[in-house]
């Protein structure tokens, strides 16, 4: 009996793992395949090439992908930098505003008739609903194709997450700790910085990562609101199309490179992930 359940458990895990890993390994394999193998079903490239990666760094050059097939490509470095700026700044803004909002909602009575639930409104409507109005407004105030425009939009759209994640953590921190600090002679603001902030550090990091990933892969608004200067990676990815059709190899290679920054971030903050994702245990 236990043997059966053990086998079932392993099988379930294996299926789950495969479901996670196959798309990634397939992308890796695709990124090393030459044009002729892009649509082939075999896993290991028969004639491995680095051309797909080289394409990503060519500066506006017509390159020959295959006999008779050429493509005009743009380098991925500017979009990568755009993405890191836009997503990085918007994440920081969302987390900071989220922290203060969550703190206020947790420690004082939340304002207004809707309270904090009002902030969920932005997540209740399909994002596509907002595309046209935002486009019109941004055109009027000249925010199209600007870093600032995307930053503000991303921060506004994701601040809800940091509010709700952080509120859960702050609620768990007894007020007594801050009150004790105040009685020792700190102002309420400094008590928050000295006592509460260090205790929710992990939560800040985790909500930051969550928001970062969400914005990092955002496509719809980036597509509509950027044209040249502020193009982000997900949009840039779609430009690898040539006379020979979609450049699957280059897209795969671009995807692989794009997944490196989140990987590095995840590695650096892994210490916080455990406390953060288990939602608390701040009482140690």
């Amino acid at each position: 009996m236990s043997m059966v359940s053990k086998i079932l458990r392993v099988a379930a895990l294996a299926i789950f793992m495969a479901w996670l890993i196959i798309p990634i390994t397939w992308t890796i394999s695709l990124s090393f395949k030459p044009y002729l193998e892009w649509r082939a079903a075999h896993f290991w490239p028969k004639d491995p090439t680095l051309l797909n990666y080289k394409i990503l760094f060519y500066y506006e050059r017509e390159i020959t992908i295959t006999t008779g097939g050429t493509a005009l490509t743009k380098p991925m470095i500017p979009p990568l930098i755009n993405t890191l700026i836009v997503v990085g700044v918007s994440t920081v803004i969302a987390v900071i505003i989220g922290f203060f909002t969550a703190y206020g909602a947790s420690r004082y009575n939340s304002p207004g008739p809707f309270g904090l639930y009002f902030t969920l409104l932005t997540r209740m409507v399909p994002p596509a609903t907002f595309v046209t109005p935002v486009l019109v407004y941004y055109r009027t105030i000249g925010f199209i194709d600007s870093h600032l425009g995307l930053i503000l939009l991303y921060a506004a759209a994701t601040v809800t997450y940091s509010i709700w994640i952080l509120k859960g953590f702050i609620d768990q921190i007894p007020r007594e700790w801050e009150e004790a600090a105040v009685l020792e002679g700190l102002s309420p603001l400094r008590a928050m910085v000295r006592v509460t902030l260090p205790l929710v550090k992990s939560a800040l990091v985790v909500s930051g990562l969550f928001i970062f990933l969400m914005n990092y892969s955002e496509f719809l608004f980036a597509l509509v609101l950027t044209t040249m200067k502020a193009v982000t990676l997900p949009v840039h990815l779609t430009t690898y199309v040539g006379a020979a059709g979609a450049l699957y190899g280059a897209q795969a290679a671009c995807g692989i490179i794009a997944s490196i920054p989140p990987l590095i971030i995840g590695y650096v903050i892994q210490r916080h992930l455990i406390t953060g994702l288990t939602f608390g245990m701040v009482r140690a």
């Binding site: 007894p174 009150e179 105040v182 009685l183 020792e184 205790l199």
Partner: protein, 368 residues
């Protein structure tokens, strides 16, 4: 003349429609340990928070060390506060916890170091100094919290049920230690508790609170021997004081409590204080240890049946049934009693309290 460290005047605090603290006034003298004692929800913690400045009173003044602090924020009041729980900062070491308040005051480093070490030595915390406070046992945490609050030398130290969550055995030791530190360091403490035994054991004076009001203030002995109301009488002392309703009668110059079936003779009660109460219904209060119990009839005794015997080794708690009432009797003797046995009871002279049935006040304490 004794100096007053803390004075609370006509303090009132309401939350919506509930009156938490109802116009209370009391003083804590310098170097004194004063306990506010009352059941949970009686407003004692709210009083404490108003004194600390964590709540804003609706009315009244708080004077600390001769300075009116009613309108000052908590950080400017020079009070320390130890909570029931969550008293230490879990992400800091014990050393950092104790040094916290000193660092805020920007004292020189070596001065901080000296004072932290002295405090740690005093409270036996030296070996824990580098441990994260969140990893300590509750008892140690409370000790660290105490150290952190004492080290900054506040005018008054407020303790909000600091020992409630600690194990019974450790509680006993900590109670004694707390009393010792308080005397050695000459700290003024306002202590809040619902544990009457704790309050009786460590306090210089006690204020008994009920429903937002202070009913009685006095030394533990005063409160025990002369409770001014039924509430105080019942709240202080364990086992609880016996309270019997009956009619007060006078015969032959002797006072009786008439219970229809039994008449209880009351010794040594000055009848002039009871003038208006003869022939009226009153409540008699008598502590279990103030009833003599015997298997033989005594002069002026009345009889009852033993219904329960509880022995705690050094004393015997006997529950005796009279026709309409049950009496709790504490006997220091190891008597050989059986359930169902007939026993004779007698009140010790001068020990009975008589309360007005409607006002619930102790009649015998009426202006001496």
């Amino acid at each position: 003349m004794t100096e007053v460290s803390l004075r609370v005047e006509n303090l009132k605090k309401t939350f919506g429609k509930t009156i938490a603290v109802d116009d209370i006034t009391f003083e804590v003298r310098r170097g004194e340990l004063f306990s506010l004692l009352g059941p949970s929800g009686c407003g004692k913690t709210t009083t404490l928070r108003c004194i600390a400045g964590l709540e804003k009173p609706d009315k009244g003044r708080v004077i600390i060390g001769g300075r009116d602090v009613t309108d000052l924020p908590p950080q400017k009041r020079n009070v320390g506060l130890v909570f029931q729980e969550y008293a230490v900062f879990p992400h800091m070491t014990v050393y950092e916890n104790i040094a916290f308040g000193l660092r805020i005051k920007n004292l020189p480093k070596d001065e901080i170091h000296r004072r932290v070490l002295r405090m740690a030595e005093l409270l036996n915390l030296e070996e824990h100094l580098n441990i994260r406070a969140g990893k300590l046992t509750l008892a140690l945490m409370q000790r660290v919290a105490l150290a952190r609050s004492i080290v900054v030398e506040p005018e008054v130290l407020l303790l909000d049920e600091p020992l409630t969550l600690v194990d019974a055995k450790i509680k006993e030791t900590m109670r004694r230690e707390l009393r010792r530190y308080q005397k050695e360091l000459g700290i003024t403490i306002l202590h809040v508790t619902h544990d009457q035994l704790e309050a009786m054991m460590i306090s210089d004076r006690i204020g008994v609170m009920c429903q937002g009001k202070i009913l009685q203030i006095g030394t533990p002995i005063e409160i025990y021997d002369k409770p001014n109301s039924i509430f105080v009488a019942r709240f202080i002392g364990s086992p609880t004081m016996n309270l019997i309703e009956g009619r007060l009668e006078q015969w032959d110059g002797k006072l009786f409590l008439d219970l229809d079936s039994v008449r209880i003779l009351l010794y040594g009660i000055p009848s002039e204080k009871l003038g208006g109460y003869i022939g009226r219904d009153v409540v008699l209060g008598i502590r279990p240890e103030d009833i003599e119990i015997s298997t033989q009839p005594m002069e002026g005794s009345f009889s009852g049946k033993v219904s329960l015997i509880e022995s705690s080794g050094n004393k015997l708690e006997v529950i005796v049934e009279l026709d309409s009432v049950t009496l709790n009797v504490l006997s220091p003797l190891r008597m050989d009693l059986k359930v169902g046995q007939l026993v004779y009871l007698k009140m010790r002279p001068m020990k009975a309290h008589i309360f007005d049935k409607t006002t619930e006040k102790n009649i015998m304490l009426k202006e001496e």
